[in-house]
């Protein structure tokens, strides 16, 4: 068992290296690109929306950034995850390797991007005079649950992508809709209570809301929120794991 894990680790590391090399091949700015894109988005959103929402939301830049930080990670991770399995078809149809490693390796990259963006985020917090407290340590919690959630959704998508290549477009549209439905640049407080209820079922929004509570309000969310986030993550992960297990030897019929 330990031996198997060690071998998987080696393959995992090599896959991570490969993904890195391929992604940043011949891009001068390399990894900086991945940080630049949320920043540009932040800039555009700030310019466009500040006059509409900025007056009623304190620390509007940080408010926006919280949303973009979480949402971009989710979008990037699931989009990359979707192609992980299909992109490695040449490997898993020839060699018997654990297929989830492709997805895990892909997620390392998006996780690193996220962490770098997070550092920039903290820097912005300083500029925006946000008060840093020990409660910031609680940010680890939504990061972990979102990571697991991303991997779970990635597993589901990558399996579906093998069967239906048009998942690509469908997911693209869905992510777009989700962006408008995750309260990235507006507040839900002023909406009718029924509508606010709907937002509670949006895992991405829940993660964004958690981060905002900590960073902007200095409040640790209640226990139920913690349970809900873990619930989202586990549900997605278990469903993805089930699909991988169920189709493990059948994927290759479809590629």
């Amino acid at each position: 068992m330990l031996d198997k894990l060690k071998k998987s680790k080696f393959l995992f590391e090599e896959l991570v290296k490969r993904d890195f090399k391929k992604k940043y091949k011949r891009t001068v700015l390399g990894i900086a690109w991945s940080m630049l894109s949320p920043l540009l988005m932040l800039l555009v959103m700030k310019v466009v929306f500040e006059q509409f929402f900025g007056r009623t939301v304190p620390h509007y830049t940080t408010y926006l950034f919280c949303g973009l930080l979480v949402f971009n990670w989710f979008a990037e991770s699931t989009n990359a995850g979707m192609r992980c399995l299909y992109g490695n078809a040449a490997i898993f149809t020839k060699v018997n390797v654990p297929k989830y490693l492709f997805l895990f390796a892909g997620n390392v990259q998006t996780l690193i991007n996220f962490v770098l963006t997070l550092l920039v985020f903290f820097f912005f917090c300083v500029i925006d005079h946000v008060e840093f407290t020990w409660k910031f340590l609680f940010l680890f919690y939504p990061i972990v649950t979102l990571l697991v959630f991303n991997i779970g959704i990635g597993m589901i998508l990558s399996a579906l992508y093998i069967f239906f290549r048009d998942m690509d477009y469908l997911w693209g549209v869905f992510v777009q809709l989700l962006m408008y439905g995750s309260a990235i640049f507006y507040q839900v407080d002023r909406m009718p209570p029924d509508v606010q209820q709907v937002f509670l079922f949006n895992p991405v929004y829940r993660h964004i809301a958690y981060v905002r509570e900590i960073v902007l309000a200095g409040i640790i969310p209640d226990l139920m929120t913690h349970i809900t986030l873990a619930g989202f993550a586990l549900e997605a992960f278990l469903m993805g794991a089930f699909m991988y297990k169920h189709y493990n030897t059948r994927f290759l019929y479809y590629v």
Partner: protein, 259 residues
């Protein structure tokens, strides 16, 4: 020396062919609703049974589409047999369609490590044997080139070097020995003999009957998924296969002459 290393019991593998592939979600829904959705079944292998002992070298022969590669996929665990069982007693190292699975953007070293990891080696083992691998593949001077720039012979040489340097208990080679030029072929055949004498059980798929005759002690002949023959009588089965091939080509000639 008669321990059974690998056993295939009535292995049948069914492929699906037809509508399920590449039709997209919309077409899939439409065809499901209108009842035009069709999936045909196709048996790539039908009741194939054989047993290999330690140190055996099995040659699998047959025309294209006989189910040779499919049975190898079942043996290496990439596929599960639809019916029957594959019983493995030992580590399997499989080399299917060698040059594929390498990444064009990585260089020789990176690809070697990636391939080694895929085959289940440890990093330590790769560190120790990397030099040996490159020397064997004769790619020392191309080490820093990206894989796109190598010839397909070079890629196959590297693949062979990586796979053969371990001591797997069961080694699967699909059209591997036909790679490289004459000199490398001789070298790889010598390497194969060394592995076999080390006690490995080897399965070789080859279209070169000469190679099969020279190297194998057991032979399996597949034709359109059916098991035509299996046994120790390598010469006899090869003769029968050759005769069969001649018969087939004569039939083709006659029918085309008739038209």
């Amino acid at each position: 020396m008669s321990d059974v290393m690998l056993e295939c019991r009535d292995v049948s593998i069914r492929y699906m062919v037809g509508d399920f592939k590449n039709i997209g979600l919309k077409e899939w829904v439409v065809r499901r609703l209108t009842g035009r959705y069709q999936v045909k079944e196709f048996w790539a292998d039908r009741r194939v049974s054989f047993t290999l002992n330690r140190g055996d070298m099995l040659g699998i022969i047959g025309t294209n589409g006989a189910g040779k590669s499919t049975i190898l996929k079942a043996i290496s665990g990439i596929m599960e047999p639809t019916e029957g069982r594959v019983i493995r007693r030992g580590t399997v190292s499989a080399l299917l369609e060698l040059a594929s699975g390498f990444d064009g953007d990585l260089n020789v070293r990176e690809n070697a490590y990636l391939r080694g990891a895929m085959l289940g080696y440890t990093r330590k083992f790769m560190d120790e044997t990397y030099d040996q691998i490159v020397d064997f593949a004769e790619l020392r001077e191309f080490e820093d080139r990206s894989f796109k720039q190598l010839s397909s012979g070079m890629k196959s040489r590297l693949a062979f070097a990586i796979a053969s340097l371990v001591k797997p208990e069961i080694l699967i080679l699909d059209e591997v020995l036909s790679v490289g030029d004459g000199a490398f072929r001789a070298k790889s055949e010598a390497k194969m003999r060394e592995i076999i004498s080390g006690g490995a059980t080897t399965i070789l798929v080859s279209h070169s009957l000469g190679q099969v005759r020279a190297m194998c002690n057991k032979i399996l002949w597949l034709h359109k998924g059916e098991q035509k023959a299996f046994g120790n009588d390598v010469a006899g089965i090869c003769d029968a296969y050759e005769k069969f091939l001649k018969g087939a080509s004569r039939l083709v000639r006659e029918s085309s002459a008739g038209i």
